[in-house]
Subunit: 187 residues, 2 copies
Amino acid sequence: MENAYRRRKQPELVRRTLLDCAARLAMEQGLAAVTVQAVCEAAAVTKGAMFHHFASKQAMIDAVVAELLEKLDADIEAAMVTDPQPYGRFTRAYVTVTLDDLMLNQGSQWTALYISSLTEPSLRQVTAEWFAKFVRRHRATDDHPTLEIVRLAADGVWLAGLLRDDGGPMPDLPALRKRLVAMTLPD
Amino acid sequence: MENAYRRRKQPELVRRTLLDCAARLAMEQGLAAVTVQAVCEAAAVTKGAMFHHFASKQAMIDAVVAELLEKLDADIEAAMVTDPQPYGRFTRAYVTVTLDDLMLNQGSQWTALYISSLTEPSLRQVTAEWFAKFVRRHRATDDHPTLEIVRLAADGVWLAGLLRDDGGPMPDLPALRKRLVAMTLPD
DNA sequence: GCATACATACAGACCGTTTGGTATCTTTCA
DNA sequence: TGAAAGATACCAAACGGTCTGTATGTATGC
């Protein structure tokens, strides 16, 4: 994004870059590090540009979280369509998507941001609704107490992933995934 | 804490009040709301007083988190000494302390703060070490994969507790507690 | 009377946001 | 077809506010 002033205009790219930089900052240094200045500096644009694309800083952060939830949405949906077994289908998808993300990209790309969206009161409601939507939608196939425990455990893995880089204990993910998935299958 | 200037000096009380107010702010409005000004205002003392008791804002927050972890420590230890069954003793204590806290005080007193201590990079390491300490210490009795799943599920309940007030789905805690504890017992 | 426990006042940095201007892009219409 | 006109994209600078932290003053407690 060099020589930004006189270059060709590329609004879509700038917007994307801003969102990506904001997400990266939140993940690597916490939500507190997501200042307008820091994001713009990382994206190599000025604050004016940022405020052209987003009405406020909060609007930008909201957009980041919304994108994150949409991505999770899509991943879960994709995992579900290939699953022939109805019982526990959503729970299985939830587990696989969660653990696979942690296993694939070392840096646990979304974890910190996702958890951050829970601590910030302004973002809590969005995530709460997103989550409630799923539970409501799949009540018919995923209502068993054991399945709930599996989902809660998957959430717990998110947290463990946060501490991973700081010497926190990290479970054997492949084995854990296997075991959790097994728990979602009917006896 | 009225008439602060000419009242009797009570350093211990002031320190306590500051810590309590900082914790309350973090729990109710998120860690971002914990500014020196806001804490001092809530405690009805001046910044001078606060900086007399704590070397920096970060030192104060560290103290809050340290207290929280100490409290958890004590609660877990207390739950363990009354447990005759060695196998899974720590995991059982972890589950009961976690869920009982959420069940007892509606507002999930510590949840938000605890999660914040995971999100904020400056606090992560302390919590990671605290957690690793436990796992290390009780490896002999709590190393089974099922026990790990139970602990992860308990962590997941922390997260669910965060979303509770915003309409997020909340599990039936007494039933869940029963079921998780049952999973920690040898067959 | 000296250390401790505060209050007061202030400094300097950084925050999100606004403003005003200058590019580039797109549409319109002669 | 192309030039004028308007909309959009972006920069640069500055504003008011709030942030943490410091320096200094003043009371209390032993």
